[in-house]
């Protein structure tokens, strides 16, 4: 249900502008310029990267199910459009899904690390409290392990106090959720002589679709991160969990190199030559830079009039489809210029 709702929302926003796999890439958080730009342009940032474990097979299956249910219309060019019935369905269900919890673009990398830290620290502290040092950790990634070790060294002398306070903060946090959400979260925690439930077990217990479980957990975590960062005084322990989480977004290495050369006033053509890359690749880098860099010198590449013309065209046809915009504007304006303008204008 949640998964279907999110897919439908994306299709609804995309209109007929994007192929169905654009939705897939968006949910997986693909680090491609196209996907990131889609996310900004169509205001789908909250869904960016919220389902890294999604399998193409499951995705396709649900797309076809939605099409069979006449909620989604599929076209030969691989695009999908929500039907009138689909739009109604979205409207009817909007009350029942925790869409507002998601904040993908800000948390898609932070959330998994936060959860790993929390799971492993609870397991470690509860076992240590019972003097059991022979347990199999649920997380064995060294980043999480090293962090927990560091915390443990600081906390182990006050284990009882720590556990009480962590319980209290977690309890306060979970009160912000529905009963089912809080239950799902608590059921997936591991403690002393007790291991958390898998996604199948949770799905069975609460009569949910398996595909929704990772999404529900991600939604809960995103909201937790939002609440904690707004109320650090109320959640002193959890605030520690937020320290040195991985930085989100940022441009790719290769685009970074291109940026360095642009700053030295080399032209795109010269950079392509120097780096033995295609000119179009350099253009891709520049669009990527434009997306993240608020001081991107757009005027250098697109005059003010051209910018106006492009935006007016997009508005007129109410689409961000490059080809459609290209047909509306004067011939001298290139695809590259259109992409740059759309990249810079994303935050409207």
């Amino acid at each position: 249900m949640l998964f279907d709702y999110i897919v439908m929302s994306c299709c609804s926003r995309f209109k007929d502008g994007r192929s169905i796999s654009a939705v897939y890439h968006l949910l997986k958080g693909k680090r491609s310029i196209q996907t990131v730009q889609d996310s900004h342009l169509y205001q789908l940032n909250r869904f960016y990267g919220i389902y890294p474990m999604l399998q193409k097979q499951d995705f396709d299956k649900h797309i076809h199910k939605l099409a069979d249910g006449n909620l989604l219309a599929l076209y030969n060019d691989n695009t999908a459009k929500t039907t009138a019935r689909g739009e109604n369905w979205l409207h009817e269900h909007q009350e029942h899904v925790p869409i507002n919890y998601f904040n993908g673009m800000d948390y898609y990398q932070k959330a998994p690390v936060f959860l790993e830290r929390l799971l492993l620290l609870i397991q470690t502290m509860t076992n240590s409290r019972k003097n059991n040092f022979h347990f199999i950790p649920v997380i064995d990634k060294s980043v999480a392990t090293n962090w927990v070790k560091k915390q443990y060294q600081q906390l182990y002398q006050n284990q009882a106090v720590f556990l009480n306070q962590l319980h209290e903060e977690l309890y306060q946090l979970l009160k912000n959720y529905s009963d089912m959400e809080a239950n799902i979260f608590v059921d997936s925690l591991t403690g002393y002589n007790h291991y958390g439930m898998s996604r199948f077990q949770i799905a069975e217990l609460y009569g949910l679709n398996q595909l929704d479980i990772p999404l529900i957990k991600t939604a809960i975590i995103h909201r937790m991160l939002t609440i904690i960062s707004r109320n650090t005084a109320v959640y002193p322990l959890f605030t520690r969990f937020l320290q040195d989480l991985p930085q989100e977004a940022g441009i790719t290495n290769s685009a970074g190199k291109t940026k360095g050369l642009l700053n030295k006033q080399y032209s795109a053509e010269e950079i392509a030559e120097m780096r033995h890359l295609k000119l179009n690749t350099i253009y891709d880098h520049m669009v990527e830079i434009a997306l993240y860099d608020e001081n991107f010198p757009l005027e250098t590449y697109v005059t003010a009039d051209e910018q106006k013309e492009i935006l007016a065209a997009a508005k007129k046809i109410s689409s961000f489809k490059l080809k459609a915009i290209k047909q509306e504007v004067s011939e001298a304006i290139s695809y590259f210029q259109i992409r740059l303008v759309l990249a810079v204008e994303k935050i409207s």
Binding site: M53, L119, I122, T126, R129, F133, H134, F135, I136, P137, V138, I139, D140, S142, A160, L163, N164, L166, H167, L170, Y171, L174, D179, A182, N183, F185, V186, D187, L189, T190, G191, Y192, N193, H194, Y195, G196, M197, S198, R199, F200, Q201, E204, Q210
Partner: protein, 510 residues
Amino acid sequence: MIKEKLNEQLRNQFHISSFRPGQEEIINDILDGYDVLAVLPTGSGKSLCYQLPASLFKGATIVVSPLISLMEDQVRQLKATGFKAAVALNSFMNPREKKRVLQQLDQYKLIYLSPEILQHQDIIHRLKQMMIDLFVIDEAHCISQWGHEFRPDYLRLGNVIKQMNNPTVMALSATATKEVQNDIITSLNRPGIVSHIYPMDRENITLTVQKVNEDRQKQEMIIKLLKRYRVPTLIYFSSKRKTEEIAVILSNKLPSHRIAYYHGGMDQVDRISIQQQFMNDQIDVICCTSAFGMGINKQDIRLILHYHFPLQLESYLQEIGRAGRDGKSSVSLLLYAPGDEVLPKSMLANELPSVENINHLFRELYQLYLQNPQLPPAEEVHEMLELNEIQWRFLRYQMERHGIIKENRLVFQQERWEHAIRHIKAFIAERSVLKDRKLDEIIGWINNEQCLRDHLYKGFQSGYNTPLYACCSNCGFSFTSWQPEQTQASENVSSWEAKLKKLFFIGDQP
């Protein structure tokens, strides 16, 4: 003297009170510097045979293991017992992590490695700087089973051992026929190796086969059986999808049982959780693929069901060997319906490229060569040639052997290609015959009307122990007389608030 410390070390480091049959003899030979080939039944504590010496040796012990998940399980378990100086190195580690581990490698006593990573020059170089006391090949039957086809690096272990300055060698397996044992000895070039071969029959496991007419009847049988018995149970399947499908059906039909599935496609937290819940008696039944079980050591698994039968008797033996490690009466039930051969046959057919396809593949490869002799990344080759990962790995290895791929480049020479094509076709045909034979063996066993025990162990050893409980379904076993101890239902905590309190010991007596 090191040996006097054996029992003390056993208690202190491994928390075990006494040796199981075979362990002490093998460990003594290793400590005396003899190379050892050990064939011990599953569940007899094979790993201890090298873990204990490793904890006593001054230098490091290398363990070659076929699966990353297996290595990681072993390391996790060692660390849980307090043996922290263990590490697993594999080709999927990110470069930073690998560098960190390599730098500190001499601090580890036990180093688990894949055969592939032992071909990396930086690893070999690092290991040569260290003192290696023992070189272990775990699951050594892989040398014979996979080495020839797509894990050629298994066949290169002999050479690696030489480069390590010939440390003591230990080859371990739970299922190695005489033929496979000889293969191992030849490949490692250790004619003087001391063999410790222990019978693999399990006297407390009753073997049963039940023939049904169709899939649905299998499900009905399982439901009926599980209604009677709430005992730790594994149900083996050949497909991941089927584990999920049947787990859903069983959960609906058996609301009082705690049922889950397990396969290699799940994320890591879920895999560890399911394994450990089963260990902890939080789960009664697991629907799984063969990926489950290798790393776990639960004593009281009572029932092993096969929804699909495995590709060979060796795998069957390993899988049922997980039952009844505590010695109590346990049962294996294999369900068979007409047409069940189709799935394993197509699995076998997909393991290697087909003979008919070879000419076509080489034409494509020739086109590729004309464009650019440099091979593109594996995923692109898979797509271009329409081969799966295993098929391409096989073909690539064969082409390397025939000198028509060198350093990731295609090398064209007409005669050599023709020669290679002929040989590869013949080799595929030969391997297919061998695998079909293995499959026929297990199908023959299923359909055999005499004693199942007698027939099962015939190919592996001479004779077997008298079974402690009922022998097999052909010798007159009926579930009506089987009464194992049942798992008690645990109390259910209802609200999330209460569950959270319990987790954090809130309200417990201090």
